[in-house]
């Protein structure tokens, strides 16, 4: 069957099978920034946005996103670069496999809550597992990123 959707602002028409999951469709079509991990909806590395909402592409059937707007890490490269720098500065990039999913969750958090508390940040990151860092560094990086954005907005 055909899947017609927009991926990172571009209209696409992709051949899919009815029992295919979105992570497989995306990776097969070159969106390799979407990582594949547990395939059971647990680890969060496959996080993307569908119509602006963070979802796990490994548990979402491709057929379910017909006509919808999909954003992968490839579609938010500038934002990802900025957040990535904060993660690197705090030493939490280590193996890096979880980073693209984590960054998609951070962008969703930013969209959902203007000034998140530590508790809210951790709540939004609960679905992104990281075997390297223990999350304290991530929390530090996100807070600095948010503060940086806030200060930038104040200057403007």
């Amino acid at each position: 069957m055909k899947l017609n959707a927009r991926i990172n602002g571009i209209k696409v028409s992709l051949e899919i099978s009815p029992d295919e999951f979105l992570v497989d469709t995306l990776r097969r079509n070159g969106y390799l920034g979407v990582k594949q991990g547990c395939d059971t909806g647990t680890c969060g590395v496959c996080t993307i946005h569908v119509d602006g909402k963070a979802v796990l592409s490994c548990v979402l059937l491709s057929a379910k996103v017909e006509g919808r707007e999909i954003t992968t890490i490839e579609g938010v490269q500038n934002e990802a670069k900025v957040i990535g720098k904060y993660l690197v500065d705090e030493g939490v990039d280590q193996c890096g496999y979880c980073s693209s999913g984590t960054i998609m969750s951070i962008l969703y958090l930013e969209k959902s809550i203007a000034n998140p508390t530590d508790e809210e940040i951790l709540h939004y990151l609960n679905g992104n597992l990281c075997r390297c860092t223990g999350y304290t560094g991530q929390l530090r990086a996100i807070k600095k990123y948010m503060e940086g954005k806030y200060n930038e907005n104040c200057k403007q």
Partner: protein, 269 residues
């Protein structure tokens, strides 16, 4: 990658009646909510029926009730400004520890409630409210009856309707780690009468009716709390699985109920 489920056809009906036609036309037809739990199993599905276009995606409020469409996601429940104003935000609180927000943006109310999952946090919370499920053919069924007996025949859950009766409520669960399945979950509510539900026992959620009766007759305060909890652990059957033994569940149940009663301000002076 090996697909554990197979799907031959995928249909997106425009009305519930059309969806019902697909559902009854073939034994192996399956309604898809979010599909998150189906993904974990192994199933050959002839026709997967997606209800996304059937107009079941909203939470609405009238003078006396709240209606939650079957395709509303747990993420929608969590961010709903309508639900925030009722039952001490019970329904949003009940789903907030389920995996991560990316999963909750997929999981649907209808998928969970129609499947009557024993591990469900949301069902336990619904049980202490004056809630009914609306089935396409079966009509309105009280939540407790539906969770106990299910649907007599293949049906489609359209929405859940909840009476706005200003009851106070609280939900508590115990988990090994954040985002894991609950080892046990409980909910309490109070208006004139007390209502207590226990779920993830690991069996389906049930109402602790003898305990409710005891409290409604005697009231509940720090002096008779332990006696009330004895009635509860006597009547509720706890089971064992890899997450916890029946004895462990019984112990934590007492503590969770105490905390919930305090939080919902149900303990008399």
């Amino acid at each position: 990658m090996i697909n554990l489920i197979t799907i031959k056809n995928y249909v997106v009906p425009q009305t519930v009646e059309e969806a019902y036609g697909y559902l009854t036309s073939n034994k192996a037809s399956t309604i898809f909510g979010g599909g998150a739990f189906i993904r974990m199993g192994s199933k050959n599905i002839s026709t997967a029926i997606d209800l996304s276009k059937c107009g079941l995606n909203n939470i609405t409020e009238s003078d006396d009730s709240i209606e939650i469409g079957a395709m509303v996601t747990f993420g929608d429940l969590e961010s709903s400004t309508i639900l925030k104003n009722h039952f001490n935000n019970l329904l949003a609180i009940s789903v907030k520890d389920i995996v991560g927000i990316q999963m909750r943006n997929i999981v649907t109310v209808g998928g969970t409630v129609y499947s009557r999952y024993g591990f469900s946090d949301f069902i336990t919370a619904l049980m202490v409210l004056d809630a009914k499920v609306k089935l396409h053919k079966g009509g309105l069924v009280p939540i407790e009856l539906f969770i106990t007996d299910g649907s007599k025949e293949k049906d489609i859950l359209e929405y859940i309707t909840i009476k706005k009766d200003n009851r106070r409520a609280s939900f508590k669960s115990m988990r090994n780690s954040k985002g894991d399945y609950a080892i046990l979950n409980i909910a309490v509510s109070k208006k004139e009468n007390m209502c207590i539900a226990v779920g993830a026992r690991p069996g389906r959620a049930i109402l602790a009716k003898k305990t409710m009766e005891y409290i409604n007759e005697n009231g509940i305060n720090l002096d008779n709390l332990e006696e009330a909890l004895d009635v509860l652990t006597e009547e509720v059957k706890f089971g064992s699985n890899s997450r916890g033994s029946s004895q462990y569940r019984e112990k934590i149940c007492r503590t969770l109920i105490k905390r919930a009663l305090k939080e919902a301000d149900c303990l008399e002076a």
